[in-house]
Assembly symmetry: C2
Homo-oligomer: 214 residues x 2
């Protein structure tokens, strides 16, 4: 499952969006579902997740991490299915390039209808994990481009945590964390005082099992 930020239609502020695919066969034919597919014998879990993502949505996100293995008995009405779910964060530029078609569409994460299988529950869990990682780890930057202003970082936090944060206090805290580098440049073209541009220099904490196939 994929998270990206897109501007809300109304306010223009960034909000969380998720691409879903329309099911073309039973069960749950014509309902929306998370992209996914089978695991082949010649690829690791991580590789399979990458491949399925690319094939369904055309995306190749930099941040990809295992979410959880769902294996309840009645997840699918027709057969026993175990889904090892991965979640990805993509940058706005990438998300803009993503395929959208009759059978692939982006939805606001907080305005989903009823999805196929247990996919609503999976998304809820992923949202919880995203909020948790946002509150602790340094994950927000993977939803932004290479250069960003601290106000943009704040907007990511506000979108994910769904509450407003004091700009001055937020600055102070972010600047106290490591891995944030002042580029010395400024974002020009805004309507107001031009903000400084920063860069994230940290690494995206690795999964224990994500070496690619040689």
């Amino acid at each position: 499952m994929i998270f990206a930020l897109r501007p809300s239609e109304r306010s223009g502020r960034p909000t969380l969006w998720i691409p879903l695919v329309r099911r073309i066969r039973e069960p749950f034919k014509d309902q929306w579902a998370l992209p996914g597919g089978p695991l082949t014998h010649s690829e690791s879990l991580q590789d399979a997740a990458s491949r399925n993502l690319r094939e369904t949505s055309g995306l190749a996100p930099k941040y990809l991490e295992q979410l959880y293995a769902f294996g309840g008995l009645h997840r699918s009405p027709t057969q026993r299915v175990v889904s090892i779910v991965y979640w990805a964060l993509v940058q706005p530029t990438e998300a803009a390039l993503a395929d959208e078609s009759e059978n692939v569409r982006w939805f606001r994460a907080d305005r989903l209808g009823e999805l196929a299988f247990d996919h609503n529950a999976i998304i809820d869990y992923a949202l919880g994990r995203l909020r948790n990682k946002m509150a602790y780890g340094s994950i927000a930057y993977h939803l932004l481009g290479e250069y960003f202003t601290l106000a943009q970082v704040r907007e990511v936090y506000e979108a994910v945590l769904d509450r407003e944060l004091d700009p001055a206090n937020f600055r102070r805290q972010i600047k106290a964390t490591p891995d944030i580098e002042d580029t010395g440049e400024y974002l020009q073209g805004g309507k107001h005082r031009p903000p400084r541009l920063y860069r994230f220099t940290g690494r995206p904490g690795l999964d224990p099992d994500n070496r690619s196939t040689p």
Copy 2:
């Protein structure tokens, strides 16, 4: 994989122990490995983990949570194996009852030899998760019995985090957390001033997918 506290042979202080099983067939015949087994068609992942645990070690831990799905291509030299690993915490009373035999033995978590498959890596990952959950969540209590002293809680933290903590400051912090209840009783029989007994009243945060089979 299972964690339990047992008194260290030398110091008598509690340390982390793990039960392992000896492999009776190839590959890795006669080497020590994590207990485990296949997933059948009629049980959830959680149920399968419980069953495998019971069958190999006789344990039925109260705390059981999914750790990670390991699915690298070369985990087993003979075939492709995906392991959905669970981790459990057992109380000392339970751990004492656990079967120990020619083919099941407990080891100190910090003194393991070379295990079968990638099981050393799995244990390292589980230890990291345990330390992390210990530092934030309220997980230490699942390694203790129903009633415990605050010094015992501190010993759990010290064993897992592997550093000494100031008794007075630790008390203050633990008492400030919710879900810790003073029973009004005292632990008698010690050599010194008898400490108060406390009880944990919180719930063990549920996995998203752990409903038992009906």
